[in-house]
Structure formats: structure tokens, C-alpha cells
Symmetry: C2
Subunit: 229 residues, 2 copies
DNA sequence: GGTTAGCAGATCGTTCAACAATCCTACGGT
DNA sequence: ACCGTAGGATTGTTGAACGATCTGCTAACC
């Protein structure tokens, strides 16, 4: 996406939400977050304050508040006196991300009940629909939703928030990887397998599958990240 | 602590760090955070912008950036057009906090190794020293450090950050409870028992002790929170 | 030739003053 | 007692200004 396209997209996003959501800073942050998630701003890109003042239709102070919001979500990095950069994951980040996922998701899956399994299988269905439409980023999003559904089994607001944070960071990594189809598609059937196992009563079998899943995904992402840094 | 005392304390905190730490907003946030932790601002208190402009020696915009920082740490609550309030935990918050702690700490303790045990026992020693000096809030801080040490066993930056967040929120709750000695002192020996068990090779015994510990602490805090709301 | 000092230019950090938007309270009508 | 409405207080947002800091370039120096 060119810089001009990104500016135009921002205008749309801002206009859409200006009076629906809360403060101007939140609206601006929402627009920027969406733009980053869509890939309009790529990891490592520098985001100059002045260049966004016009498109977002906010003042500099407000824009800086928006940056603070995104910085705390770890979507951008705020370097003092040097500006704001779209976050670029390191290999260490990827390792850490998966360490936390393993710890949380395995325990959560053990606690899951029937209502959780339906939420999980709905996410799988959504992913299959996206695959049929060749929407590979959609498949990735559906996969994330599947894992969020696992964590939701615990029923903790803070854990849900943490998982949202982790998936947002992982999505940043997706943009830096090559063929999205090759990366996302194969995990669809593995998700389905996990649902089958756990709803069939084989909880520990499902946990094992999930653990293998996470290890494989981690290895695959690490391969993409360790090669070029 | 009177309002005048709080203002004076803020001046000290600001002067101390003005040129040590980074931006003015961070310095202001640090000072406010410390003031809240010390109990100078109590949960539920409203924090009026104008009243802090002088003591903190920052402009309104910078102060508002500091508020954003604290809001993301969940130490204060930002209500649009109504101001900033020191966070007051609800019973649901306490339940959620302990749900997350149980999930994370039990798993972390299972993964702990000898180096982690020494860190844990150091925290216990620190707590005993505070108890001897009748510094009961210090005992509470040492207890939190003990649990942070458990989580640190995993070696995940994000998990450490999460645990820091959780302990900060819990400390907010401490201020709303009655006798700090009655609440903190008895957990000291239980922490020591956990260290003994795990370093003695009885990992699952230690995990059991930790689980009981967390359940008891949760019950005790809930009793204080459900009574008056 | 390579290294370092210093000089712009660009960008960020912070302040200030002003105005608009919103909320709270107290007053008065019913 | 209830309700709507002014008025004051506080927050939300803006725009311009100035100092501080980084970056890259030039030029002097070894």
C-alpha cells in the first residue's frame, strides 16, 4: 500500500468513527491500529507526527496521546526524541510470545467445557469459510479467534485481555512472513483435530496436539525471523 | 495523609527524579504512582488536573500524558469528561486477579529451579526483616516479591510484566483493607514453607501449599470487599 | 584516507493560552 | 417530592511557540 493510499484509508476510518467512539485520541488510535493490522504501515516503518496530523484531523497533542495508547499495546515503539516506529518483532519476542501461549493455552484447554468447544468449532468453521474464499489473512484471523476461544474457557477478563495483546503482536509478525497461505492454511485442520479430541473426551490428547501445534508454529515463525536479523 | 502533605511529597518525588529518568510525563507518572502506592491517594479519590499542575511542575498536556500511563497500568481510571480517579477494586476484580495468579503461579512453581528458589527465599528473608522492624507494608511488598520470583522461573518478559501489573493492582486492594499486620504477617511463614517444600524435592506438595495460600488470601480479601459494596 | 568536531535542518518534548464540550449542582417551577 | 434548566466547574482539544535532541553533512585535523 502506498503512502497516499494509507492517507486516504485513514480519512475513511476517522470519518467512520468520529462520533461513534469516545475521545479523539481513541478514534485516532483505532484508525492507526486498523491501518497497522491491515498492513498499511509495515513493521519498522517510522511514523512521523506531522504526516498524520492532516489525515487524522487531530492536533499534535491528541495524536501524541494516540501514540501513547498504541505504544502501551506494543503495536508501536516510542523512542524518545526519535519518533514512533511500527513495532518489529525480534526472534526473542517470538520465543517469549509462544512461551506465554503454551503456559496459558494448555491450562485453559484442560478447563474447557462444552460451551467453549462450540465457540472453538465456530472459529474453525469461520476459518474454513475464509479458506474457501482464498482469504488467507482471514484464515489467520480465524485461527487467532480459535485460540482466544480456548483462553476464554478460563473466564478471566484479564487473561482475555492478555490473549488479545498476544494475538495483536503475533499479527504484526504475520505481516513480516512470506506466503500467508502456506503459513495459515495447514493449521486449520489441526485446530479441527483439537476440537474433535477435546469434545470427544480425550482432553490430554487434545492438550498434546495443541502443544505440538504451538511448537511447530513457533519454529516456523522463528525460521522467518532468525534468517534476516 | 492530608492534601497538603501529599502535595509536599509530590514536590520531593519530582525533584528527586526530574533529570534521572526520561520524559517529564514519565517522571510525573512515577511520582503519582509512588504516591498512590504509599497511600497518599486512596482508592476512589478523584484526582483533579489543576491540583497537580503546581506540585508536579508540568503543563496540563504533560500531566494528561502521565494520567494515560497510569490508566494503562490500571492504577487510575479515566472517565471521559469526568476526570481521573484512583482505581478502586471490586470483588469481581479480586476474583479475577486470583484466578490469573493461580493459573500462572502454579505452573511457574513447577518449572522453578535452584536459582529461582534462592530468589524466593531471599524475598522471604526480606519479609522477615520487615516484620522484625514492624514494617507491615514492607512485609506485603516482600510477599509480592516472593510471588514475582515464582513467576520469574518461567523466564518470560511478558509474564513478568503481567505479574508486575497484577501485584500493583493487588496493592491497591491492600490499602482498602484493615489491619495490615493481621493480613500480611501470617503469610510469611507459609511462603517459607513453600520454599522448603520445593527445594526439598516435593514439588507437588509445594504446589498444593501455594494453591491453598492463594485460595485463603483470596477469601480474606473478598471478605473485606464484599462487605461494603 | 580515515576520523572526529561542529554546524545546520528536521523532528520531538513541553509549555501556554484559549475555546468548545460536557458534567454537576443548585435553583425554581409544577 | 419531582423535573427541567441555568450557571459554574472541569475536562477535551486546538494551535502556536520555543527549547532540546537527533541525524547527516561538511570541514578541519591527524
Amino acid at each position: 500500500m502506498s503512502v497516499e493510499d494509507a492517507v486516504g484509508r485513514l480519512r475513511d476510518l476517522v470519518g467512520l468513527r468520529r462520533r461513534v467512539h469516545g475521545t479523539a485520541a481513541e478514534v485516532a488510535a483505532d484508525a492507526l491500529r486498523e491501518l497497522i493490522m491491515e498492513g498499511g504501515l509495515r513493521p519498522g516503518d517510522r511514523v512521523v507526527e506531522e504526516s498524520l496530523l492532516g489525515p487524522l484531523e487531530v492536533s499534535r497533542n491528541t495524536l501524541r496521546e494516540a501514540f501513547r495508547l498504541l505504544a502501551h499495546e506494543k503495536l508501536v515503539e516510542h523512542k524518545v526524541n526519535r519518533g514512533v516506529f511500527v513495532r518489529a518483532l525480534t526472534a526473542d519476542d517470538v520465543r517469549d510470545l509462544f512461551t506465554v501461549r503454551v503456559l496459558i493455552e494448555l491450562t485453559a484447554l484442560r478447563r474447557s467445557r462444552e460451551a467453549d468447544w462450540t465457540a472453538m468449532s465456530q472459529a474453525v468453521a469461520k476459518g474454513k469459510a475464509c479458506a474457501k474464499a482464498h482469504d488467507w489473512l482471514g484464515v489467520g484471523t480465524a485461527n487467532m479467534r480459535f485460540h482466544k476461544a480456548i483462553v476464554a474457557s478460563v473466564g478471566s477478563a484479564r487473561l482475555d485481555e492478555l490473549m488479545g495483546q498476544l494475538t495483536a503482536e503475533l499479527r504484526l509478525g504475520f505481516h513480516e512472513m512470506g506466503d500467508p497461505r502456506a503459513f495459515h492454511e495447514k493449521y486449520l485442520t489441526r485446530n479441527a483435530g483439537i476440537v474433535d479430541a477435546v469434545s470427544g473426551g480425550d482432553v490430554e490428547g487434545a492438550v498434546g496436539l495443541l502443544h505440538e501445534y504451538l511448537d511447530d508454529a513457533k519454529t516456523e515463525m522463528l525460521a522467518a525471523f532468525s534468517s534476516d536479523r
